[in-house]
Amino acid sequence: MEITDRCVGCASCIPWCPVGAIKMIGDKKATVDQEKCIECWVCYKIFQCPVSAFKPAEMVFPRDLMWNFAVPTKDWATTRMAGRGTEEVKTNEVTGRVKPGEVGLALDFGRPAISTSFKDVEKVFMALVKLGVEFEKENPLNMLFDWTTGRLKDDRLREVRAYQPIIECKFPIEKTEVVLNTLREVVKEIDTVVSVGLASTVRVDGTIPIFNILDRLGIPYKPNMKINMGLGRPLASIRVPDKVRW
């Protein structure tokens, strides 16, 4: 995003930027710090500039990529889906993506409202690859990373910032402990935050298989969750019986 000479320096746009990329040059004009801007377009589409001074930057690499991650209404050409991730477990009763005995993991980098460099995403991607987790094929990040090594395909991306990209993967429930312990270590090396989500099917009695593991590991979880009510059709997966081995 750029600010044209129309700007009258009223500074009313400054608080609207989620990543604090808008600053004043003296007291005459505002400017956008291109290193910080993540192309969310809040300043352009939601804030109403009194003199219409905002103008989108030319959408060439890497700004086009950043724009796709940051604007939730924009579809990805590859997945034809809006947003940074996939349907994940919102349609799990139909897709059977996360099956009984499996755990889904969604890592939102730089969320909430911090942003991340792809370099930090790469550190976690590489750590997960070594554990043999199964990455979600339709996730937009998979265009950018080599699945076999977890490395970025294009070195130029390493310093590029993106808004809340998501790593999505799944693994057998038995691997939950090693995955979470690895994650606890690798996030110490990154310069941003990660919102961590785990997905699991629900037993018929309403209990959730992963809770015992989380309790044993001393990892707290929130009481408010995202709950798929099982109303989608056709149904794909079977339920976890009341009595199971884990």
Binding site: I14, P15, W16, P18, V19, G20, V42, I46, P72, R80, M81, A82, R84, T86, E87, E88, V89, K90, T91, N92, V94, T95, V98, G104, A106, D108, R111, P112, A113, V187, K188, I190, V193, V194, S195, V196, G197, L198, A199, V202, V204, G206, I208, I219, P220, Y221, K222, P223, N224, M225, K226, I227, N228, M229, G230, L231, G232, R233, P234, R239
Partner: protein, 210 residues
């Protein structure tokens, strides 16, 4: 698209914060889904949601947008949301969605035990959950005031600036705007309509008292 997960807050506040999402499943049941999704949207609207919208076209707070336009722009892959302030209302919404038998996926984001009990009363059992383990990593980057984080996490796409929350709270404190106006201004940032305007108003009032 984990946008309705990771909402932070105290239990008493979260008891007033439920999002119901309805969507088709791409490649499985999306062909010809638009009328079913619109029927679901009308069910969501029947119970006076605090907010509603389509992730792809905007919310009722988006500039030049409203419920009729959300319906008009509905497609086979629309992702509709309604936000409610109590589990009893969510239970009625779920019952109507179940009775309508649309075959679309329905996801509730909110307190699990309350939702499980409500679901059981109407003959539903949750199929899958996504659980938030919170925010890991360099958490000193997060806002110090929990109320600001609670407000920010009500837009899962991160479009609400902590500086805007602070500025609006300051304006409320100075008597320039009301807490209701501040909450409505913030709601414009959340394009898919999952921002709980009433909860935001309460959180702003808490911030103002600090």
């Amino acid at each position: 698209m984990t946008h309705t997960l990771h909402r932070t807050g105290e239990i008493e506040s979260l008891k007033k914060d439920y999002v119901v999402l309805v969507m088709s499943c791409r490649g499985f049941n999306d062909a010809g889904a638009a009328p079913k999704l619109v029927e679901a949207l009308k069910i969501l609207a029947r119970y006076n949601p605090i907010n509603m919208g389509d992730m792809k076209t905007g919310s009722i707070w988006t500039k030049d947008h409203n419920f009729e336009k959300i319906v008009e722009k509905a497609t086979d892959t629309s992702i509709f949301h309604g936000v409610y302030k109590d589990i009893e209302t969510v239970k009625m919404v779920l019952k109507d969605l179940k009775d309508a038998n649309l075959g679309m996926s329905v996801v509730v984001s909110g307190l699990y035990n309350e939702t499980l009990n409500a679901a059981r009363e109407i003959g539903l059992t949750p199929h899958t959950v996504m659980v938030s383990l919170g925010i890991w990593g360099k958490t000193d980057l997060l806002p110090e005031e929990p109320e600001i984080l609670d407000i920010q996490t009500m837009c899962g796409h991160g479009l609400i600036s902590k500086n805007l929350v602070k500025k609006l709270a300051k304006d409320v404190k100075l008597g320039i705007i009301s807490s209701d106006e501040a909450a409505r201004t913030l709601a414009k940032c959340c394009t898919c309509g999952i921002f709980n305007v009433e909860r935001a108003k309460e959180l702003i009032e808490k911030l103002v008292k600090k």
